[in-house]
Symmetry: C2
């Protein structure tokens, strides 16, 4: 059986304009790889309702899991929760448990729990809250979609809190070898080895560190024996000692 | 008239598995912002022909420009050129000018110009070559799609060589102000200002540097006067001096 599949949808004008460099995609990819869930697609789109709804529908029906990042704060450009509700044709209302969490947090902080902050308690019907140990305003899970904050520290803590609930697969193992020969020189041998081991993915990444050129070869798969067989072939055919 | 639109398609298993952190998206977003082309979507997909062909068709018909990164080297996982040809239903063959460029480069380097390296001269019919001052193997432009290498230094030099040929728009200007109040406190005022200036995008990004929390507000638009009007409102309504 193959591993569960996943996609991430990063929502926010600031990534596409270059103001902010996204780090959530990289974080999620590493965490999912560890537990054997294959991240198969990432999309980054602006704070635009039509685009968000379209992407959520598409990605949540194509992959086992969809993770979203961004757009769940208190301001006018935070429209993700409404778009998720629209994508699944469900209602969205202030939810009592989320409201109480936020209310008591702002009370202890001596901060006014105003209308804008109350908006963060609006959760699509049928969703399950995702804990936010940092700034309390929760994320949520609706069907196979996990809706999380864009702020990296909060995103990361939300990912950690949902990971135990995911169906995991076989962790993707990887081994690599650095070969001081150009990609073009080893391509034919690589291709042959790749065709003999179709369950293993063999990636080749050229490097150029000043004067020397060469290739890093990364072998990935879920079966340790296959991986080792490929590594042996690579070392016997491509390494000059 | 609105600015031209663009998308980037990053192709490569290594980004989705977390092995490599993409930097091409961030580089391109900054360069396009400078010349008034709106990057409206980014996708990252694996080295999979079906996915590449689908995404190229979709993104090239939706946006004015599509930029791709990755998959044009000499190895078995470099399938981008073939997929571009398939997406546009055109043939792909060894092209003489690309072949000669590569042949003379490898000759001067005293490196065997073998079959794998010759593959890099395979270019879809009707495409225009994109110069590669670093490792010679060219990228290419077919219709509104610019196909470039994944190695960041090469990607960047290719972007610089295609920029003069793009129809540019009004550069996106941006101004920002740091406010030592939480997002939730200023959200209502921000919403009002945003509704009064619909051509300006107002993003708010919370920060938390240890003890202090606050909000960075970033105002973006192509009209300097509008931007300044918004900044004045923000400063008079939200800043405590």
């Amino acid at each position: 059986m193959s591993n569960p599949s996943a996609a991430i949808l990063v929502i926010g004008d600031e990534i596409l304009s270059g103001r902010t460099r996204d780090s959530n995609l990289h974080y999620l990819s590493c965490e999912l790889t560890k537990i054997g869930i294959d991240l198969q697609e990432a999309r980054i789109i602006p704070d635009n309702a039509t685009e968000i709804i379209y992407a959520v529908k598409w990605l949540s029906s194509k992959y086992n899991y969809l993770f979203t990042s961004g757009g769940i704060g208190p301001t006018h450009d935070d429209i993700t929760a409404d778009c998720i509700a629209a994508a699944f044709e469900t209602e969205i209302n202030i939810r009592e448990d989320a409201f109480k969490l936020l209310e008591s947090y702002y009370l202890t902080q001596n901060i006014d729990f105003n209308n804008s902050r109350q908006r963060m308690a609006r959760i699509p019907n049928g969703a399950k809250l995702i804990d936010n140990p940092i700034s309390v305003a929760p994320g949520f899970q609706l069907k196979n979609v996990f809706v999380m904050a864009g702020v990296p520290t909060i995103f990361q803590s939300m990912v950690q809190s949902v990971i135990p609930s995911l169906i995991s697969g076989k962790p993707l193992l990887s081994k690599s070898v650095r070969i001081s020969r150009g990609e073009g020189e080893i391509a034919a041998a690589l291709k042959k080895i790749a065709s003999e081991h179709e369950d293993v993915s063999i990636g080749s990444y050229p490097y150029n560190d000043g004067e020397k050129i060469g290739t890093n070869i990364v072998v990935r798969g879920v079966d340790r024996n296959q991986l080792e067989a490929v590594m042996e072939k690579l070392e016997s055919k491509l390494l000059w000692r």
